[in-house]
Symmetry: C2
């Protein structure tokens, strides 16, 4: 390796310390993480697979479709870039050949069963009939879980740009605008600042209970609640993911009260963040805040880590056994469904676990954002 890449060194150590002969990484997020190269088609054309192969001896190769070779050579810090030709050879068959070159007589191979397709897994089994395949879902997730300073900076910038775009589009919306108009202004602002669109939940009025509703032509009415959850990629592959709730004109007392309770639950959860506590404790803190405030708590999870992947390990759910460590980031995103009013409230902010507690990477919004009337 011409340049020393700490995450590759850590991955090599993990493989060397395991009882595996090699590891085949194939998920879009993890291959991007290890290679430094973001290949758009890995997500939009999933069958165009890319692999990072790490052997027990420490060799690292990056296998991509030949269509992506130029980008891989320019953007990746992995020097050994290999290619396959689509339709001539299945990517899994090509990586099995590469594996046998780099690691003669392999016996035990780590891979990502949650990301790899059953089809590619079957091809690997056929090409490597004497190999045992072992899940490396968890080791790679744990490697990616502790963010490096550059990653934290990218996530913080992406979050800051996203929050600024959300706030501007909502507070400067023209009265009588549609969901689509306000959403478009928000995304335009994000793109102008260099974020590429990633996902887009934007709902108003009765649609705010649709957890992942997308913007439509509905005209925003005074008193309407607006709930959005949007994200982008910056500079090429670190994500933002941010939920906010707003109201057209002044909120009703019920709306203001609902939001205050949700914000309070988010604040209590964030304030509980410190190294050494179980992730599941954050879930319990949030649930207890809901109970104390007598609002219905129904979420299977209340947040997740994030980086190149949207839902990275760990997710904040009651069965999670991970313990918070410095360098982890967590999106804390409680949701409140007021079914009597037919309204959904949502906030989401990104928090870094520090040596002594936490640092906010995005700034929570203590009041409902108001659109002009």
């Amino acid at each position: 390796m011409a340049t020393f890449i700490p995450r590759l060194a850590k991955a090599q150590q993990k493989v060397a310390a395991s009882n595996l002969d090699a590891v085949l990484i194939s998920s879009p997020a993890a291959t991007t993480y290890l290679s430094g190269c973001y290949l758009l088609t890995q997500t939009v054309i999933p069958e165009r697979e890319a692999y990072v192969l790490i052997t027990r001896e420490g060799s690292i190769s990056y296998l991509v479709c030949n269509i992506e070779e130029k980008m891989a050579r320019e953007d990746s810090w992995i020097e050994d870039v290999q290619t396959y030709v689509e339709f001539k050879e299945a990517p899994a068959t090509a990586v099995a050949k590469l594996l046998q070159q780099k690691c003669p007589n392999p016996r035990r191979i780590g891979l990502e069963p949650r990301a790899l397709s059953a089809h590619s897994y079957q091809l690997l089994q056929q090409a490597l009939p004497h190999c045992e395949f072992v899940s490396w879902d968890q080791p790679i997730a744990e490697l990616m879980m502790i963010k490096e300073p550059d990653e934290i900076a990218a996530l913080e910038t992406a979050g800051r740009v996203t929050l600024a775009a959300i706030t501007k589009a909502l507070t400067e919306a023209m009265p009588g605008s549609s969901e689509r108009t306000v959403f478009t202004a928000m995304m335009t602002d994000m793109m102008t600042q260099g974020l590429l669109p990633m996902f887009n939940v934007f709902t108003s009025g009765p649609n705010t209970l649709l957890v992942h509703g997308e913007p439509g032509s509905r005209i925003l009415q005074p008193g309407d609640l607006i709930r959005l959850d949007v994200g982008g990629r910056w500079p090429s592959h670190y994500l933002s993911d941010m939920a906010r709730t707003a109201v057209v004109g002044p909120p009703s007392s019920a709306q203001a009260s609902n939001y205050q309770k949700l914000f309070q639950a988010q604040r209590e959860t964030i304030e509980a963040v410190r190294p050494g506590i179980p992730v599941s404790e954050l879930y319990q803190v949030c649930a207890q805040s809901y109970a104390r405030q007598q609002i219905p708590f129904t979420m299977p999870h209340i947040g997740h880590s994030m980086g190149i992947g949207l839902h990275e390990y760990p997710l904040i759910h009651p069965g999670e056994t991970a313990v918070l460590q410095p360098g982890m980031v967590l999106n804390i995103e409680p949701f409140l469904a007021d079914t009597s009013r037919g309204e959904g409230y949502h906030v989401e902010d990104l928090v870094l676990v520090t040596e002594s507690g936490y640092r906010l990477l995005t700034t929570p919004t203590p009041e409902l954002i108001q659109l002009p009337v």
Copy 2:
């Protein structure tokens, strides 16, 4: 079923005519196709699986994460909506239970190994140890291949809006704009017309050879080639996918000549489209046009079908045995790499196979689009 849905009836017939007890559909495109419901999280959070289950007896169920239940009930025409709770139960385990309720003592089950994760496949094998699993990748692809009139109308609208936005953003670009500025104007126009952003290749000058490069801060210079390949979803889940090449100011004679040859190859390929010919013949027609015009032909495929999925079956490659049928749509997208100039040229248009030949769903652009200088 309250409403008669032709595609569901066809799917039921296909299952009944097979030797399978049931079929489990899990790919985002095919579950959307069968259910009529687009779940954003199926692609951005792939582990949040959704399934359509069709039994030999004709029962149809739709299993979604309970977070998406409201949307599934509102948007899907499948009446039997079932849910699982994330982290309490793996989706594959939940669908195995549902399968045993709907289809006692199943023996042979169809599924989509190219879309299903190896992890979920293993969970299905554990939950249904007496079942044989058979690939239904091909039958579902063939079902989706013939487009219904509403689908063709959606694809045509999405393509028309996309082409208008591309043309407007390029021909009205301010001199001295960056890639990002022109790209943002294009996407803003698309979103204003109701398309949601899907993917975004936008390259200029030396980056035009990066097949899937994304927009950056590079300032567009007179004489620069611009190559883009963008798409969106309309109204919620039919795609556009369109490539165009442009130049800042008047093209050089080499640029104009390269484009004319590429356009000629696209035209000859489109004119060869008619029912009854093998898809691979289109590839050969394109390759022969390149050879006759003495330009290098290096593409593993020169196009693909499209609908809810970006690369739907069939792709236009030399090994494809499918034969063109009325109702198929094909994106015809030759690419020309002029490595001596360091430039990549690309066009992509959508064609419908009709009873007598073809109909263009988007209008090819016979000259390089010019940006003002």
